[in-house]
């Protein structure tokens, strides 16, 4: 605006009335009439101590929403929302369109940052008691914004139409199918048909590009509108209670006795943080690059290990650790109850203490949830419960385990490899982690227990009784019997002394009379 000073036809020489810029501004303002509202929003007083770095997460989430919309539109210029072509168009974005990879990376990392910032914002709002009167509806809209953010993350993962997206949809369909009575119909609605196919991608595209972002924009504007109208939550002071009857007056008094204008007093920190977040997204995008796409979405390629994106790993972990019969009740009850509790929170705790110093349960809950989430996510990144599908053919046995071994023991080592035991059991640090490591298995189980375990399975181990011949079982057990540290003898059954001793003469002599056999356990 200030740069628009060169006026046509020498009118600027008169310089009496307002300049061109001012006149253009006035022309627009007469029609838009925004100045009053904008000034009011910008200059409304906020409590001085809310100009804090703790209050920057909401505006950062808002900024990220617009980054996602902007980069999303740019990607939509190239992306083809067709099951047959989506994967190819993503690869063209990655490799052929100049800086297409960068925009995909910005969008992907923007999504990660957005989920993280929204969660932090929510935790901060909860700990600062900002959901209490009169900001209940702001909180409720915020809960829906969180759900939609997660919805965008999931639908976005589907639009990256690769193997993970395909099988992720399968996991989603399997979860939906557990809903009683209407599960089958809901699966068809979710997939747009009987299987994951073109119709599925089309409807997820519509959800990701129109339905959810449209609702999100509306909700986000209402959310911000209420922040402006109701004022930024005052810094919680221990002992300063929220009461419906007096709060508005107290807040008004606070902002007018110890308040500063929202701009620039508080807003500069929002600006700095938003800028820093945008820069961080860009740095991550440049350093780590875009997400996928992984293999083609061809369901007949089964050599794949599907895994959800980062923010859903915790669910993936829970579904591994829950007892099988608990899963369906968990999936159907817990998410809905969690959402219901979040929505109901401002109604049963709408008044009273705001400060976290006087709300130990709130602090405990946030820290418990945060730690659990962290642990579950960490487990989800390593997936110790997943068999390593290629360990049996790819992971070598440590040489010292078969060096100097008898032919029977070596045969047992071959059986161990060939029967995929290594997919779940590690030796020497390589192999699956589904079952216990076998490095010292002989110190834990006696020969008989080993044989029993191999034949009958139990716990998380399948029974190998029908899949191994007796000679293979013998060989395998004699190999397992050698798996113990040099300084630690293998476990033995004390009663074997008696049994072994009795065997040569079990028909004639009673066991107590027989001499101990020298060859068995020490």
């Amino acid at each position: 605006m200030p740069g628009m000073n060169h006026s046509p036809r020498g009118q600027g020489l008169v310089r009496e009335g307002p300049g061109t810029a001012a006149r253009v501004y006035a022309w627009f303002e007469r029609r838009l009439q925004l100045e009053g509202s904008v000034k009011e929003a910008a200059l409304h007083p906020v409590p001085r101590n809310t100009a804090s770095w703790w209050y920057v997460f909401g505006s950062a989430a808002f900024t990220l929403l617009f980054l996602q919309i902007f980069t999303g539109i740019l990607l939509a210029l190239v992306y083809v929302p067709s099951a047959g072509e989506a994967w190819n168009s993503l690869n063209i974005l990655n490799h052929q369109i100049p800086l297409g990879w960068f925009l995909r990376a910005m969008h992907g990392w923007g999504s990660n940052f957005m989920v993280a910032i929204v969660l932090i914002h929510m935790a901060q709002v909860f700990l600062f008691g900002a959901y209490k009167f009169p900001r209940e509806l702001t909180w409720i809209l915020g809960v829906f914004l969180l759900l939609m953010t997660l919805g965008m993350a999931f639908t976005g993962q589907v639009l990256r139409f690769d193997q993970d997206a395909y099988w992720g949809l399968g996991i989603g369909a399997s979860i939906v199918s557990r809903i009683p009575f209407i599960g089958g119909g809901l699966v068809h609605l979710l997939l747009g048909g009987p299987i994951i196919a073109g119709a599925t991608l089309s409807r997820f595209f519509a959800l990701h590009v129109f339905v959810i972002p449209g609702t999100m924009l509306l909700f986000a504007f209402l959310h911000v509108w209420m922040v402006l109208k109701l004022g930024v939550n005052d810094w919680p002071m221990p002992g300063r209670m929220v009461r419906r009857a007096t709060y508005m007056e107290e807040y008004h008094h606070l902002t007018h006795t110890d308040g500063i204008p929202f701009i620039p007093g508080a807003f500069w920190k929002d600006l700095v943080f938003s800028g820093a977040i945008l820069a961080s997204v860009a740095v991550c995008a440049v350093v780590f690059g875009p997400f996928g796409p992984s293999g083609q979405p061809d369901p007949s390629i089964i050599q794949t290990v599907p895994k959800p994106d980062f923010f859903f790993l915790w669910i993936y972990t829970i579904l591994s650790y829950l007892p099988p019969q608990m899963e369906t009740p968990f999936l159907l009850i817990v998410p809905l109850s969690a959402i219901a509790i979040l929505l109901a929170l401002p109604f049963f705790a709408g008044e009273g203490e705001k400060s976290w110093h006087r709300r130990p349960v709130a602090v405990l809950m946030v820290s418990t949830i945060a730690v659990s989430w962290g642990v579950l996510t960490q487990q989800g990144t390593t997936t110790p419960w997943s068999p390593h599908m290629n360990a049996w053919s790819g992971d070598p046995l440590p040489e010292n385990r078969i060096h100097d071994a008898t032919p029977l023991v070596r045969q047992g080592a071959v059986v161990l490899q060939a029967k995929q035991c290594r997919n779940c059991h590690s030796i020497g640090g390589s192999g699956g982690e589904r079952g216990p490591t076998l490095d010292a298995v002989a110190t834990r189980l006696t020969v008989d227990q080993l044989r029993f375990k191999v034949v009958t399975g139990g716990g998380n181990m399948p029974a190998y009784g029908k899949n191994l011949s007796p000679s293979e079982i013998e060989a395998l057990v004699s190999f397992l019997e050698t798996l113990h540290p040099a300084n630690e003898p293998p476990a033995y059954d004390a009663s074997r002394h008696t049994v072994d001793a009795s065997q040569p003469a079990n028909s004639t002599a009673p066991a107590s009379n027989a001499p101990p056999s020298p060859g068995t356990n020490p």
């Binding site: 989506a86 996991i171 009987p194 599925t200 794949t304 034949v455 399975g457």
Partner: protein
């Protein structure tokens, strides 16, 4: 707060409406309200009528299982050796030209004898991940959460609560056909394998 707006624009006399429309007597006003309510009702009615086709359109995929399924060939019977389990592929019977490769569905065929088959879905009964067949140990293993099934499809270990989903099959003029068409899940007619504790499994283990 909004009333205090100090607008720079000329005041449009906000209370002007009342003074100009002075002749609004109570009867006229109530007639306007009646018309207004009638207009709302009209729109409500139109909206309601329009909801029907919209819902019908949205619920189009909500069909009975049978409407998706049809007999699909897996190829000649001889392609499946007796006593072995083989990966087979078919093209899903209901398809659109823009489906790409998503219509190529895999399944496992186990030929138990000359005329006896079992056809298993590729999807783990836990969360639908693709299970892999290991002929050496005669086990199906799932890469996601470690569900394991025996060769006959029954559950061996891990989180699945049941055995693998199976397809109905028939032999027509030397070809193995299966009743396919939809992703098998716990809620549709994917045929139940008898849930057994599995061969060799022993309850006394605890």
């Amino acid at each position: 707060m909004t009333n205090e707006t100090q607008s720079a624009s000329p005041k449009p006399t906000p209370s002007g409406a009342n003074t100009v429309a002075a002749p609004d007597g109570p009867r006229i006003v109530s007639r306007r309200w009646l018309l207004f309510k009638a207009a709302i009702a009209l729109n409500g009615l139109v909206g309601l009528v329009l909801t029907v086709p919209v819902l019908r359109y949205l619920l189009a995929p909500w069909k009975k299982d049978a409407s998706f399924n049809s007999w699909t060939s897996l190829g000649p019977v001889d392609a499946f050796p007796i006593g072995e389990t083989r990966l087979a592929r078919y093209v899903n019977p209901s398809q659109n030209p823009w489906d790409g490769q998503t219509d190529d569905i895999a399944c496992y065929v186990r030929r138990e004898s000359g005329s006896q088959f079992k056809v298993f879905a590729i999807n783990c009964a836990h969360l639908g991940c693709p299970v892999r067949w290991f002929p050496q140990s005669q086990l199906f293993m799932c890469p996601c959460h470690g569900g394991v099934y025996y060769a006959d499809g029954s559950r061996a270990s891990g989180p699945p609560e049941r055995g693998l989903f199976t397809y109905s099959w028939q032999i027509v003029s030397g070809e193995l056909q299966i009743d396919a068409g939809q992703m098998p899940t716990l809620s549709n007619s994917a045929k139940l394998v008898t849930i057994s504790t599995g061969p060799g499994d022993c309850r006394c283990q605890g």
